[in-house]
Subunit: 387 residues, 4 copies
Amino acid sequence: MNRKIKMGMVGGGVGAFIGEVHRKAAALDGHIDLVCGAFSSNPERSKQTGKQLNLPDDRVYGSYEEMIEKEKTLPEGERMDFVSIVTPNHVHFPPAKMALENGFHVVCDKPMTVNLEEAKALQKLVDESGLVFGLTHNYTGYPMVKQARDMVSNGDLGEIRKVVVEYPQGWLATKLEDEDNKQASWRTDPAKAGPAGAMGDIGTHAENLAEYITGLEISELCADLSRMVDGRMLDDDGNILLRFGNGAKGVLHASQISVGEENNLKIFVYGEKGGLEWHQEEPNTLLVKHLDGPTEVYRTGVDHGYLSDAALNHTRLPSGHPEGFIEAFANIYRNVAFTISSRLNGEEPSEMHLDFPTVNDGVRGIAFIDSVIKSSESNDKWTPFSS
Amino acid sequence: MNRKIKMGMVGGGVGAFIGEVHRKAAALDGHIDLVCGAFSSNPERSKQTGKQLNLPDDRVYGSYEEMIEKEKTLPEGERMDFVSIVTPNHVHFPPAKMALENGFHVVCDKPMTVNLEEAKALQKLVDESGLVFGLTHNYTGYPMVKQARDMVSNGDLGEIRKVVVEYPQGWLATKLEDEDNKQASWRTDPAKAGPAGAMGDIGTHAENLAEYITGLEISELCADLSRMVDGRMLDDDGNILLRFGNGAKGVLHASQISVGEENNLKIFVYGEKGGLEWHQEEPNTLLVKHLDGPTEVYRTGVDHGYLSDAALNHTRLPSGHPEGFIEAFANIYRNVAFTISSRLNGEEPSEMHLDFPTVNDGVRGIAFIDSVIKSSESNDKWTPFSS
Amino acid sequence: MNRKIKMGMVGGGVGAFIGEVHRKAAALDGHIDLVCGAFSSNPERSKQTGKQLNLPDDRVYGSYEEMIEKEKTLPEGERMDFVSIVTPNHVHFPPAKMALENGFHVVCDKPMTVNLEEAKALQKLVDESGLVFGLTHNYTGYPMVKQARDMVSNGDLGEIRKVVVEYPQGWLATKLEDEDNKQASWRTDPAKAGPAGAMGDIGTHAENLAEYITGLEISELCADLSRMVDGRMLDDDGNILLRFGNGAKGVLHASQISVGEENNLKIFVYGEKGGLEWHQEEPNTLLVKHLDGPTEVYRTGVDHGYLSDAALNHTRLPSGHPEGFIEAFANIYRNVAFTISSRLNGEEPSEMHLDFPTVNDGVRGIAFIDSVIKSSESNDKWTPFSS
Amino acid sequence: MNRKIKMGMVGGGVGAFIGEVHRKAAALDGHIDLVCGAFSSNPERSKQTGKQLNLPDDRVYGSYEEMIEKEKTLPEGERMDFVSIVTPNHVHFPPAKMALENGFHVVCDKPMTVNLEEAKALQKLVDESGLVFGLTHNYTGYPMVKQARDMVSNGDLGEIRKVVVEYPQGWLATKLEDEDNKQASWRTDPAKAGPAGAMGDIGTHAENLAEYITGLEISELCADLSRMVDGRMLDDDGNILLRFGNGAKGVLHASQISVGEENNLKIFVYGEKGGLEWHQEEPNTLLVKHLDGPTEVYRTGVDHGYLSDAALNHTRLPSGHPEGFIEAFANIYRNVAFTISSRLNGEEPSEMHLDFPTVNDGVRGIAFIDSVIKSSESNDKWTPFSS
């Protein structure tokens, strides 16, 4: 990398959970500088956030429109290279669209948009512009998830037969949206979150993880969404039967009313001759199972020569030095930064650096939400899923 | 108990897995004596087994018919009190029926029969005779399962909203039935196992466990059964969406092709204010989850005053002294023995001793299999389930 | 086995913890019949226990002396074959001595005696009589402990360098002996327990386990015993540095004041090229560690062809069907029973059946206690240990 | 904070493990800017590293002496505020001394020096100058370690009776220092590592952690150090009995030859009425044990209101979003940065920000090494430990 890559941020006013995560993830490896931001739709709050982040006043903007317009006038190398969008779901599309139309690369939180039309519009813009678009399906950034994907694609498990992906959380087991909880209130409001609640917020992560690891596509599904908390406007729990293109079957369930569960994304993959098990809350361990012989405990660590290249390349520390959520998140930022750097230098990005979720994953996620809602409302057993 | 209760066994020739388990479970607490048996349809093999078990020759029979007829002629206190049926599924009904018709109590392995008609016939015989009928849904015998049930019924979790019960095994991931494996061959043969494979062998355990712990009844379901191994005649994997009578939702899946899984029955129950998690492979631990505050690790142990009466009453050892599969199985035998003893003494059995699965659980299990198969073959999303 | 082996019991009046364990362990496999007992020094209580165990009145004795004398007069095949001694420590030696002197085989709880003189006297009697003497260091009965021993002796770990064996319990963290707790009161009373408290009760298990698995002998040690609870008469905690004959080093600590610990015996063994880790509270798992490559999870199960013969031979169930404390205990009884049976038949017992702790382990345990106490009271750093 | 705090680094040429960790830890929260460095004693390599880090050429120095002298001439706000020293042990003292003498704050890796004289000299310089000195005993930066400390100091456990702290690693089980492994070669070389190997590298972490959590001081110890690998010059394994000032006893062992262990620092603390257990490899979980009642699973998470203020203040994410090694490390940098910032503003740092290891911990660590070596070479059982 010839120089650090420059990031402008939309959203992420001080106190916002995910904005802080994006900033730390971008900062971790020293490849990215936050140079400007429109941190809030409230200009005063945006200024205040900029001050706390030690940004110069003239790079803190009152709106994303202002930011994109002003930054565009700065010389390359000084202006931001990409926009990081960390707003609630309904404010993903407008800044992403404007950034792409003005030649800025984009990193966007998920779900990418609130409907499929917007998602496909972004896909078209990316395809036409050739700009980089990273979507923060951050769980695919974990080294052991890379390892799992590589073992499946190497054929270590044989043909895949069954996939169980589960994502229980418990934080919305009560009507938290009535208690002035910012995270809860927008996520349960269709005007801001889009048509899905838990299924959009975390179900899409589960879908993305299952397809990322197995390399398979879900071809049809049968969903049962629920609103378990009285008066809630969006689903807070959902159970889904899955069928994959190759004949594999599976189960996906996601919940935000599973009392006592934190962020317990877990996946089990079984093939003809092997199995895999991974738990996000202990992300540095991957269990590898065999027809004969003991289960093996694969562990993150740059010293573990038995890991795949991709697993090692997304690991920072020796074994036994736990890497966590931010490190996995940072792997997406790092890869995006290297890919942008290659573009700036007129070079082809390496395959390793292109290993991050893109606008196509975003379209697929929105199509998944659509299919799940359609299925849940239908009396037909199976609803096709494609994107 | 005034005297030991006397057991006759049908099936369980030396080498059979589950017969040995029944014998050890019956022997463990010293309340039951094995006094006779028809251990095999092959009289020679039956004799041989009897010899290895140190039974007198005249109490080893060539068929269950002979056993029931001869034992009936012996005086009370000498003759067997009950018959334990540990044959493949298709040989449950005939000896059970004959035993009941001749006044013998019964312990029967599960699934109880190979069709609903037989199951209801047994139910009718039990209802009319007043005889004791125990079904070895042994997983409900674990102390921590009793604890879980008691916490739900006490309202510790509030109204139940979600139940996830999973039962992956991997031992049938290859076509073992072609390799002279006795356990595999009858379980995959519709003539011996009945209409269901994995769903009958282990899915019914999952169904029974979920209903036992929650006290709820599954009211409708949506199933997707598979035969993943080429040429297999019965399901070896199944995924099911559940709806319960109270509005709770859930997932049940059972599999015998999940490579590397041993006998990994596990259940997660979530209510309005609490959650529970239990894994059969670490049966002495029950995780208890809360809206606020840390998860608690409940553990088996007669010294743990915080456990429910039923949990303590089905525990033999102080904490940290692991109790396992046979101990749980033995809890069913112990309760059946005490209940028979009460009957012999003309007393009412205690509620604690009546805590074992009965012919009604057996009918429900067979009805479950019927509903699951019907659902799996249907394009309707929901199939009602009742028994 | 031509017939069941007949057991007489000394101690184990109803309500005693360990007597019940011995009875269940002896009963489990159907090779042993309890035929008589002197269950209490209180004849009334002995009678009552016998009744509850459905023993005939004339086989329930008021003292072990009476039992041994009377049983001796019965014909072989009717009289007891061996005596099981499950009394507090100070009543191990007298009945063991008398039984051996009268030609009865013995199973004895540990620690074997309350001093080395008694221990050596028993050893001499056994050596001279050729009688079978089993000592219930039951933890060596677990299949995964057999597996560990076999892997060490096969050289899978290379030369052993370090052994860490830990045995924390918490049940004596308060002065329970003042609260009418029978288990606590004799174990903390030097007149009944002998010169050591925790170190005798559980420290000897740790010592025995470490030497059993590694095949090494502790050659010198440095101990620091404590009485942490005010007014307690015997040690309730002890920390020990170990040196082994081959140059390996280690740590042994045992405690009954480690609040919240149940029965958490655990051992870690490291050689030049491999490591092992085993926890008694999850006894069916053995972690096998390597210089390179992932840790392997060995698991109990008759279906696990990768296990050693001895591990498989001491396993009753398929993998995933947890075996526990009683099953491990029962392995000692089973092996003793088969060994006695061979003797009765004038045959040489198989090596597999001779795999149980003997009077020599008992002597070593008492010598260990002696050395530990001597070291703890000494200012010398190292105290030699031999037996 | 009015502005970002500026860091200069000594050591940490590209490829060095711990230098990278320090840089990422310093970068994570956006409070610190790396502005200059003397990354290697080889000026060419230093330059190259500076380039990769996107530093301007004139802030990349050929030696720490040059860096300190040149930076001193720059105006406050432009020059570095503190020096981060990440060299092998023998190059900690000289740059630390020079930095302090020239008015720069210091962050230094551990062990602080290679002998007690140097350590005390630094202590004197810090005391006299009032400068900030942070030592990266990073394991105390974990939220659950803060929680443990706070529970002990609140009296939740009652008087502490026993402490077991264990630190097994396996990476030096072979003679890696002969294989061109940079990490191994200086750590096993007395000229660079100082008089201790494993005990200096990781034993001091264990000592620091035990004293940090319990608030107790080790008063005497009995050590047995080993060089298990043939030809190794420094200890690679050590077992130590501990006695604490309040009468508590304990065990500390540290090893780099425990095959298959990664970085398995773990601690168990037992008081009169409670116990704690923490494992560095699963750092977001703290087990809290009680005399009565189930063990509680405390978990990292800003949403967990039951955690102590200090635990919450050192946490960045909601529960279930794993924080790891770098985050804990970053907590030290964050606190040092806030403390320096307070000093720059003439304010008193808050107690929360002063919660990082200091020069006094460094002196204590070196004194610990001295006592351990003395004890290991002595025939006296107990060696006093003070600093």
